[in-house]
Amino acid sequence: MGKNKQILAIFAVGYLVILGVTAVAAPLVAPHSPTRQNVEVRFSPSSSTHLLGTDNFGRDVFSRVIYGSRSALLVGIVAVTIAVVLGSLVGLVAGLAGGTTDNILMLLMDSLLSFPTILLTITVVSFLGYGLLQVMLAIGIIFSPVFARLVRAETLVIKTEAYVEASRALGSPIVKTVYKHIIPNLLGKVVVQCSITFALTIVIEAALSYLGLGTQPPEPSWGMMLKDARNYLVLAPWMAIYPGLALALTVLCFNILGDLISERLNPKL
């Protein structure tokens, strides 16, 4: 690893750790309530009481950015978990079973993949109703094909390896084979994919909240803060800059993290 990369890695991991800690400890870190309105001080620029200024209702932008990280991370964790579990199951079954089962399952997954992600998420959310829970479910479902394809491809390769065939020939049950041989081999690639998907889910959650389909007001979310800021770009630019910065940094750091893990797991010789 080069020196620059090392710095980058420290920066990314450091940022994500801080983000995680502030999200968990938001009530302790945030100086104000994220939802309390105080219209007398609306649109104030940054000051000692309001570190990053206030928004159109006089709410503290700093506190809202901190609380906003909660919904971003929550969506990331839950949606990625859903996608990994659902996608891996489908991929494993398809890869191991082969034949018609494989064809049908992969056809389903491919048809999900063929839709533009945002469009499909909006469709699913409109069907399920607006809200954070629905968004997490929708994103989880929509990202499952990525994992299904990955897991299936790996399974197909691994299952023909001599040691796997040998363990099968010795009569070890399929579940044990999956657990002992296939999953450990998959893990690396899935973790890398998780990190990239995590970044994507955060962007999608922000996009949906921007459209008013995600987090419900007054609960803060970065996407919604950007939406609120849209009409005050010239009057109160800080309303857009800080949540935007938080969003961009988070996504960047998750991508850097993904690259790092991928490099560690597949060292180039």
Partner: protein
């Protein structure tokens, strides 16, 4: 210095957005007005929608038999005069001669008859068909006379004929099944040249317009710009001549520009938070009173709606039938807390505040209401829904506790008050006395006679508070200094380009 760079960067971004508009602003037309329209109309068929944007656009393309002037008084338009019989059951309209449709057809009584039949025809499925339901027969004794016979007295009919949905269409095209939704053909001051959805609507002058010397403009382009910040930058840079939805927060920015003027007028909107009176807790009048006391109305008007005048009952502030009841429920959080305690409502009762997500102002107001209600000890949970869900679940289905909306004050008070006091309206507020007064007023003629009935009905509505009455908001219009005579017709909430000119 840093702040300047940031602002310069933002302005540059917005200007790039505007570049698309700039292209055709400085070219061809001699006197073309560039107007910022806040959204895309769903259809341009005046009889198949109730969308405000449609009627705002069609005001320039169609005419009606009568029309409201700027003060709200109904004056002749395509009909040069009309007579109503003693029993108010026969209405005789005399049409103006020499009026020509954009396709060359001359306006005759047959066109009026065909149009009215089209509205009431079930296959048209006009959302406004009911307003014309009292008409039992339409006769045309000659080419320039239309006689309407009514089943029962219907004072609000004239207002319906003067509204956007009373637009007169040519019979020949109605018969041939013309696609009015995308290619409107009327008698109005402008013809539709092109409509590029979500981009612009281009209108060009109708040289044969029946009002001598009008319109003064050669063309008007309605640029569809939903983003307020983009409209504001367009005005300052001169790519937009008129914007009619200027927010209070943008006023200082516009005032700083020497080329821009701002005019403020009261809209005919009735902004409310509706309360579902069929909810077992909200059925208790004390809870509804508490909600009314908990809200600082002027503050919400100023911040969410850009200023306005509070109202105390279900009628727009500028209406001739308006009566002031604002003193009944002033902002008084302590009284609200006491009323809630009396009614036994605490934090454990959660009210669902449903907001139409596409109306930013209502969402903003909703966030303020939520905060103010929480401050007097209520639990309120916001739920955003899309417009069609709001219509089906809230307005039709009454599946909500609280909701925020603006009702458009109608030309005739019956349009505003009809069927309130019965369970047919979404607030589910039942009051037989109010319902009786309202339905009697519909069959009564004469302003004074009707006012007496409406006064009492409005007083009952003001006291029993099936709504939290907020107020009527201001409409701010900003225009470049070279624009003269830009007119709004407040009663229709539309703009009127006929007298507008560019210097």
């Amino acid at each position: 210095m840093k702040k300047r760079i940031i602002i310069a960067f933002l302005v540059a971004t917005i200007v790039i957005f505007l570049a698309g508009i700039g292209g055709n602003a400085n070219s061809v037309e001699a006197k073309g007005l560039n107007f910022a329209l806040s959204g895309n109309p769903d259809s341009l068929d005046p009889q198949k929608t109730s969308g405000t944007l449609t009627f705002q656009t069609l005001k320039s393309i169609y005419d009606t038999l009568a029309e409201p002037d700027q003060s709200g008084k109904i004056v002749p338009a395509l009909a040069k005069k009309w007579e109503v019989s003693e029993d108010t059951l026969t209405w005789k309209f005399h049409l103006r001669k020499g009026v020509v449709f954009h396709n060359g057809d001359a306006l005759t009584a047959q066109d009026v008859k065909a149009t009215l039949q089209r509205i009431t025809d079930k296959t048209t499925a006009s959302p406004k068909a009911k307003e014309f339901g009292a008409i039992s027969s339409i006769e045309t004794p000659d080419n320039y006379t239309v006689v309407l016979t009514l089943k029962q007295p219907a004072a609000p009919l004239l207002a319906s004929l003067a509204s956007g949905w009373g637009a007169i269409l040519p019979k020949s095209l109605i018969d041939s099944g013309h696609d009015f939704a995308s290619k409107p053909v009327g008698t109005g001051p402008f013809k539709l040249k092109e409509w590029i959805r979500d981009s612009r609507i281009v209108l060009e002058k109708n040289n044969n317009y029946w009002m001598a010397g009008l319109p003064k403009l050669d063309a008007a382009t309605l640029h569809i710009i939903p983003e307020r910040a983009v409209q504001v930058q367009g005005l300052i840079s001169g790519q937009i001549d008129v914007s009619y939805i200027v927010d209070k927060d943008d006023v200082p920015l516009l005032k700083a520009s020497p080329d821009v003027q701002i005019k403020e007028s009261l809209t005919s909107l009735i902004m409310v938070m509706a309360i579902n009176c069929s909810n077992p807790v909200l059925k208790d009048i004390r809870v509804r009173q508490a909600i009314n006391h908990a809200i600082d109305k002027q503050k919400v008007l100023n911040i969410a709606y850009g200023g306005g005048k509070p109202i105390g009952t279900f009628m727009d502030h500028g209406n001739a039938y308006y009566k002031d009841f604002t003193a009944l429920y002033p902002f008084n959080p302590d009284k609200a807390r006491k009323l809630l305690a009396d009614a036994g409502v605490g934090k454990e009762t959660v009210f669902k505040l449903v907001l139409p997500q596409n109306y930013e102002q209502h969402v903003k107001a909703g966030e303020m209401y939520q905060d103010m209600l929480e401050k007097v000890g209520m639990s309120v949970q916001i739920k955003l829904v899309d417009w069609s869900t709001w219509i089906s679940d809230v307005y039709r289905g009454a599946k909500y506790d609280l909701t925020v909306i603006g009702h458009t004050g109608k030309l005739d008070p019956h349009g505003t008050l009809g069927r309130y006091g019965t369970a047919k309206r979404y607030v589910k507020w039942v009051n037989p006395r109010a319902a009786e007064l309202i339905s009697n007023a519909k069959r009564t003629s004469g302003f004074e006679n009707r006012k007496k009935l409406y006064d009492e009905a409005l007083e009952i509505m003001a006291t029993e508070v099936p709504f939290m009455y907020l107020g009527s908001s201001f409409r701010r219009v900003a225009f470049r200094k070279n624009v003269v005579e830009f007119r709004m017709t407040p009663k229709l909430d539309t703009f009127d380009f006929r007298w507008t000119d560019l210097q």
